[in-house]
């Protein structure tokens, strides 16, 4: 059926909402071939039987399919591009390899150009003062947050030269700015009230309580 592949293409994206499925070059090529074929058929019809009513109708139908095919391909590309854009905000300017493999070469190039355009903009903010918009995503809470170590991390040194021993199943009140990388490296989970819900599955009974400063009295519940 005409235009079926176009819908398939769009559906494919729709079924994987959170990830980027591999670039479906094969299907796109097939659709482009269908377009070329329909276009040629129309051209022949226009040249040979321009006044025939039935021919006129088939030309109309083919043209509608052509437009639909175009629309499906562009919708596919655009929605992939929006997801790739999201990667820039989540992972920074270097794409993880497991994502790059799913992208076509022009998409990887698009990522780089988006990345550059965003960087140029961020540098220009406030009369070239510069502001990194990819951080400060959530409202800042306290300067300190309570974390629980989920792995033996060992000695962790702070920017100011102080350090702390991070042992598995211990609790610490740490400066927020220093914790972000620890959490990303899976060394710690956040226990501050905001993230309690997020990590509630991993939140277990407290034992071996040991805090760097005072234990946070602010584990709130309401």
């Amino acid at each position: 059926m005409f235009g079926r592949r176009g819908v398939e293409l769009v559906k494919e994206l729709d079924q994987s909402l959170d990830s980027i499925p591999p670039f479906n070059e094969e299907l796109i090529t097939e659709i482009l071939e269908e377009m070329q074929r329909l276009y040629n058929e129309n051209r022949i019809d226009v040249n040979t039987r321009p006044d025939d009513h039935e021919t006129y109708l088939s030309i109309k139908v083919r043209h509608a399919v052509l437009k639909r095919d175009k629309r499906c391909i562009l919708a596919y590309l655009y929605n992939r591009l929006r997801r790739i854009r999201q990667m820039r905000w989540e992972f920074g300017s270097i794409l993880p390899p497991e994502i790059t493999v799913s992208l076509s070469k022009p998409e990887v190039q698009w990522f780089d150009s988006y990345s550059k355009c965003l960087a140029t903009y961020m540098k220009s903010i406030g009369d070239n003062h510069g502001l990194n918009l990819t951080s400060d995503l959530a409202p800042p809470k306290s300067l300190f947050i309570e974390v629980k170590c989920i792995a033996d991390y060992g000695k962790f040194e702070f920017g100011d030269g102080e350090s702390v021993q991070l042992k598995k199943n211990t609790y610490h009140l740490l400066p927020r700015s220093e914790c972000e990388q620890l959490v990303r490296q899976d060394g710690c989970v956040l226990l501050s009230p905001r993230s309690l819900t997020v990590n509630c599955k991993r939140h277990c009974e407290r034992k071996d309580q040991e805090t760097k400063r005072e234990s946070l009295s602010a584990c709130r519940s309401l």
Partner: protein
């Protein structure tokens, strides 16, 4: 809007604390605070109060309205009134959440305050649902929302505006097809 962001706005509200240290006035961009004299109450923004409390540098007195009797009266008023009554703070819900969360040891009757506020919230939310329902059925286009607080508005944000948006769309489609119908009719007329 994320509820965290509503709370973030609520954190700007001032609250009384009793510091256990001495310090001169501090000139913040959002306004000056202090001076701090150990044992003397002073008003500072909630975000700072919670932080000083975490560092055991102060005791939080809480808001004047965080009084069980007052809150019970508010609750009765709310029950009796058809319209929304004025709350003691535009951020009453988040202020209770934040201040009692951080300093339930400082604020007397914390649990009772929590319960009373939760009751008030429940009464108001149920009133809100009923009035939204009536409003939508009346096919109203605009509504006055006096005395609704920030968190309450945020709570109906995912529902009410979108429901109204959809109603406008349906109306527009209705109007468009009505004009189309009449145009068709007049065409038919002329062809007769």
């Amino acid at each position: 809007m994320d509820p965290n962001e509503v709370e973030f706005l609520g954190e700007k509200q001032l609250v009384s604390i009793v510091p256990n240290f001495n310090f001169d006035m501090i000139h913040l961009i959002s306004g000056s605070i202090g001076p701090f004299r150990a044992g003397l109450p002073v008003k500072i923004p909630i975000w700072l109060a919670i932080n000083l409390k975490q560092q055991h540098k102060c005791r939080i007195i809480g808001q004047e309205w965080m009084d069980v009797e007052d809150l019970k009266n508010i609750k009765e008023e709310e029950k009796k009134s058809k319209v929304f009554t004025k709350m003691p703070s535009n951020h009453y819900m988040d202020e209770v959440h934040m201040l009692l969360g951080a300093a339930s040891d400082d604020i007397p009757n914390a649990d009772e305050i929590r319960t009373a506020v939760k009751d008030i919230w429940d009464i108001r939310m149920s009133k809100l649902r009923t009035s939204i329902n009536a409003f939508l059925k009346s096919e109203g286009t605009h509504a006055k929302l006096d005395h609704l607080t920030a968190m309450e508005i945020n709570n109906v944000r995912p529902l009410l505006p979108h429901a109204l948006d959809q109603m406008v769309r349906l109306q527009q489609i209705g109007q468009a097809s009505a004009t189309a119908d009449s145009r068709e009719e007049s065409q038919n007329m002329s062809s007769i």
